[in-house]
Point group: C2
Chain length 179, copies 2
Amino acid sequence: MQKNWKIIRSVAKESLRLFEAKYNYLINPRNEKEVEVIVLSGNDAVNVMAVTTKNTVIMIKQYRFGINDYTVEIPGGLVDAGEDLLIAAQRELREETGYSGENWQYLGKIAQNPVFQDAYIHHYLLIDAEKTHPTEFDEAEDIQMIEMTLNEVQEGLYECAFQHPHTVSALVLGMRKLD
Amino acid sequence: MQKNWKIIRSVAKESLRLFEAKYNYLINPRNEKEVEVIVLSGNDAVNVMAVTTKNTVIMIKQYRFGINDYTVEIPGGLVDAGEDLLIAAQRELREETGYSGENWQYLGKIAQNPVFQDAYIHHYLLIDAEKTHPTEFDEAEDIQMIEMTLNEVQEGLYECAFQHPHTVSALVLGMRKLD
């Protein structure tokens, strides 16, 4: 049986724009050794698998600064401080694509990266999404919308077409729900 | 049509144990505004869906420092500098579980997090895995092995049982390959 790890000390490091960095110090219950780990602390995020009335899925193509390349993802982004998760999902979808709708379902959540981040991403499904608003991009965004059929999404999952792990985890749940 | 983003300046920031932090400065082709982004630069990683001769999948339960909780994942870890990807996958599986085998297949790769990381994780499938070695845990590891049936893995994907996005993306590809 695995014994519990306890954080014995936590030291704020500095702000890295998207998160605060801190070092946590723990005792490994297996060998009693002290371990120093870095944790990037940030807000939770949301993303949305939005299915239109034509049964297409709203994907966005955008430049991603980490890999210096474009990705195809579902819409999403950070939850503002104090913001309701569903409101954040509706806001991100509207800002990035101009789509909205009434038929929302919560699909589940996954740790953004449990190794060194403390935040989660919450996955939503919207059925009968419709274009109702203009887009509102952030200054650092440049987004192109793409509609894919459900078959294309399923094939994309098998072909590594979606180079964002949080898009994959959301689509796995969303495709299952639609099944 | 989306125009290209170009990195106009890159400034090393500091070492954060798992990665080097740097700031990149780009011009957004949509509005010509300069954008400052943080990029965490690190080694690629590998993970392995290992299926035993009994048709079970080797999962590991371990404490994850980011979320301060245990996760159930497939084995994996960082590729050492200059190390071959397959060798790294074989090494991580052996160190964390003591399992090895001959029938390896490359499943594909996904960006670790394209938003702010430059590295990828490469997914492997091993069929007919067998226990051949003792485990060798790092000082900061405390790992418990779990065997799951293929059905349990499939259900786990639908129930958010695997709180590591890179485990999800590997299992999606591995389950498809086994289909």
